[in-house]
């Protein structure tokens, strides 16, 4: 899904969703500042912030926003030891901002 399609989906989305946006990236990261992902109550709807473990962390943070609405920044560290065989060895750090994409669609507006 390209950016234009994601924007159109975001603008017309009826189910409540959380938007995750990479707002800052330093070093080597799989996706750069501006990359986005839409997360619904049952998981990712569209887009990606890079995949792998890092994305799992972001999804977890996004899902919390269905319970409590506060937008926040999640720092994802991809600078694990190279010998660890972890997928997080790209060598970068990224800040991902998570917020309700369409608060008007949530049962209790915040």
């Amino acid at each position: 899904m390209d950016e234009k399609e994601l924007l159109a989906l975001l603008a017309g989305l009826e189910e409540p969703a959380v938007l995750a946006t990479i707002v800052a990236a330093r070093g080597s990261t799989p996706r750069k500042t501006g990359a986005r992902m839409l997360v619904g109550e049952r998981g990712v709807i569209a887009g990606t912030v890079g995949g792998g473990c890092a994305e799992g962390e972001v999804i977890e943070a996004a899902l919390k926003l269905f319970a409590d609405g506060g937008p926040r920044t999640v720092r994802v560290d991809l600078t694990d030891d190279l010998t660890s065989w972890s997928p997080a060895v790209c060598g970068g750090v990224m800040d991902v901002f998570v917020e309700r994409a369409n608060p008007e669609r949530f049962p209790e507006p915040c």
Binding site: L7, L10, V23, A24, T33, G34, T73, D95, F97
Partner: protein
């Protein structure tokens, strides 16, 4: 009410369809937690929402021209801002996106190379337009990925195709005299496209430059033309040539070097004391 990401997305779609630039800003961090998530959008003469402080709104608006050069049609970054409301100073980290009408790829000459190139241009999110004077070639069936396909008169090839500095023009007409006519028009434009590429052998390119010189153009003007067009990939087929042209456009937009990454990074040589696995590709040159 604070505009939601979904509402701002609708604004972005409407603005870019009108051919306008639009900025969307959101506070992502601040010692004042009430600002986090506050959002504001700005496009030509219109705006909505607030970052939670009139002074912060003003600081962000004033910084935009320096943060996003006029040629860019897309951008995303975060910056820290200081602001002051009355005697209450504050700081905030603001994430700002620019969405603009996509840069164009105007392909003049609807022949063999135009077909794969129009598809690549579309994949690169460029607005693709194909121009030719032959209706049999300049038709929509041949170019499903193009936003516009136009039958033109080479005496005034860009009459119905407005061009801006952010656009890319690739001259691949069937005859070098047509390429030349387009080139003269392009070089005389007040706001000419930043990428002007022309296909041709070394000999034909040299002949074109000699003709430009006779016409009164300066070598600086000639230097603005990317001819022969494309990176040296060694390809010969229309698809291979189209990839070489698309690669050059990516390189210039993204600020790359065009050098193979294995040679740029030299990981084996740097960290293992070995030789670089791949040497430079043999150059193909011939004297004319």
């Amino acid at each position: 009410m604070n505009p939601s990401p979904a509402q701002v997305a609708a604004r972005v779609i409407a603005a870019t369809e009108r051919g306008e630039r639009i900025y969307a800003a959101v506070v992502t961090a601040s010692p004042d937690p009430s600002l986090i998530g506050r959002r504001r959008w700005l496009s030509r003469g219109r705006h909505g929402g607030t970052l939670g402080s009139p002074s912060l709104d003003g600081e962000v608006a004033a910084a935009l021209p320096a943060l996003f050069p006029p040629r860019e049609s897309r951008g995303a970054l975060s910056r820290d801002f200081d602001y002051r409301d009355g005697d209450r100073p504050g700081t905030a980290t603001v994430y700002i996106e620019l969405h603009g009408p996509p840069a164009g790829m105007v392909i003049v000459g609807a022949g063999h190379i135009a077909v794969p190139l129009s598809r690549l241009g579309d994949m690169l999110a460029l607005r693709v337009e194909v121009l030719d004077d032959r209706p049999a070639f300049a038709n929509r069936d041949r170019f499903p990925a193009a936003s516009a396909v136009r039958v033109i008169d080479f005496r005034d090839p860009f009459a119905d195709t407005p061009l801006a500095p952010r656009d890319h023009v690739v001259l691949v007409t069937r005859g070098h005299s047509f390429d030349y006519e387009c080139l003269v028009r392009l070089l005389r434009m007040a706001s000419r496209p930043h990428y002007i590429g022309m296909i041709g052998s070394r000999r034909r390119v040299r002949a074109t430059h000699e003709q430009l010189l006779r016409e009164g153009f300066a070598p600086e003007d000639m230097g603005r033309v990317r001819a022969p067009v494309g990176l040296d990939l060694g390809g010969r087929t229309p698809a291979e040539i189209a990839v070489a042209v698309a690669a050059e456009i990516i390189m210039l937009r993204a600020g790359g070097t065009g050098v193979p990454l294995v040679e740029k990074e030299r990981v084996v040589e740097r960290f293992f004391g070995g030789r670089n696995p791949a040497g430079a590709a043999p150059s193909r040159s011939s004297d004319e």
